[in-house]
């Protein structure tokens, strides 16, 4: 047991994965993953591409189903096919490719789920959507279509869209990987703000600066297993696992 988990109060974790296994065809991408995330925690998953970190995120958000093991997220048993859909609309996810609705302006993107899924009346939905856009600093771009926004602005709209449904957990799947380097900062800044506000976050990223400064706990994945986890200073300054050392050496020294 590492220090980050030990220091948590004895409450039920908001995310709990036990013995999670996943294969695509004959390739086993996750092998017996055990992972807990607590309320308000910022967990950052790092590792080489193909290490399984995005799959962990997709299983936590209900986009993929584990082959074996138990997955509890926000008190929903995602391993139970009959109940898995209860998670929909209660977590937020931000994708590498933004996945904004191209036929809707920023406000339309953010308010759509509120009107269609939550059945809010359009005026209230628009008001809440404006608040969400304001939170990511884009209230003045409400009537812009995705094609009229920069990559960084598009990703901030995507964050606002996820926040508008008031999710209990936010997932970020390489949210800055598709951005030009000069646009990464505006997105990580928004993510830091969420972390400061106490949002529970699970973040897959290649931004080691973000992991180091913002994570409560860093998990290093390698070939479908959790090779090492701990507080950022422990992982970045004094990694124990040889694979972690090699990985950090590669990504930090180029």
């Amino acid at each position: 047991m590492n220090t980050a988990i030990a220091s948590q109060p004895l409450v039920k974790p908001i995310i709990n994965l036990t013995g999670v296994t996943k294969s695509f065809g004959t390739t086993q991408v996750l092998k017996q993953i055990n992972l807990e995330v607590h309320q308000g925690e910022v967990l950052v998953l790092i590792g080489a591409s193909g290490s399984g970190k995005s799959t962990v995120l997709r299983i936590m958000s209900g986009l993929e189903t584990a082959d074996a093991g138990e997955v509890w997220v926000n008190e929903v048993p995602l391993h139970d096919a009959r109940r898995a859909r209860e998670i929909r609309g209660h977590v937020g996810m931000v994708f590498q490719q933004f996945n904004l609705f191209p036929h809707k302006d920023a406000l339309g993107n953010v308010s759509l789920a509120l009107i269609k899924a939550r059945k809010m009346n359009p005026a209230d939905a628009r008001k809440r959507a404006m608040d969400a856009l304001d939170r990511v600093g884009l209230a003045d771009r409400a009537d812009h279509y995705p094609s009229q926004l920069s990559g960084g602005q598009q990703q901030r709209v995507a964050i606002a869209r996820a926040l508008a449904v008031e999710p209990g957990i936010m997932f970020f799947d390489e949210a800055t990987s598709a951005l030009d380097p000069e646009l990464v900062g505006e997105v990580t800044e928004v993510m830091r703000g969420l972390a400061r506000d106490g949002m529970t976050m699970v973040v897959v990223t290649h931004e080691m600066g973000f992991a180091r400064k913002t994570a409560d706990r860093v998990v290093f994945m390698d070939k479908g297993v959790i090779a090492e986890q701990g507080a950022p200073e422990q992982i970045f300054v004094n990694p124990q696992n040889e694979r972690t050392q090699q990985f950090l050496h590669r990504v930090l020294d180029h």
Binding site: G89, V91, F101, H103, K116, A117
Partner: protein
Amino acid sequence: MTSDLLMSSLPILLQGLLTTLILSVAAIVGGTLVGLLAAVLRTFGPWGTPRLARLYIELFRGTPVLITLMFIYFGVSYFGYAIDVFAAGVIGLSVYQGAYIAEVFRSGIESVQKGQWEVSQILGLSKMQAFFSVILPQTGKIVLPPLIGQYLSLIKDTSIVSMIGMSELMHQGQAIVDRIGQPVEIYGLVALLYFIVCFPLSRWVRRHDRRRSLLS
């Protein structure tokens, strides 16, 4: 063609044309609804419906429209019910063209990135909500040119409904020829009337298909 012949046959043909247009519009609406339903079931329908939709699509794409019309018109009376020839025409053309229209919609649905479905699911939209408010509106540019092309072929297919006795443009032309002969003049006029309706659509399709291929 003598102006006498023109004067006497044109009103009859125009009346046939009106029937053709009404039949076309009704079958376009019907075929679009049937096609959309088949495409939805085929791509994300529950239980066994994707296979059922596929069977429907293959069945009607693999048989002539005349057979469909005959089956509906005579088949219904075979079971002791009467069906109006207009209704038989609309239903026959709708289910026949629906099979093609389903494939048009399917290619449009499949052109939308998977991420759009995923984000809709996470935001709490049902599959139907995601389809109608997220996916379908994005298929327009890809679906519209082949869809209009399909409507074009539907309008021309209405001439086959004359075979079960519907008094549309083709049938009226035949009736005139049966009475007074002059097949070249009359059928030429019939063809011209079809062409006047279809040509603008055909040009629209060509222009938009070209624009699409230039963009990609």
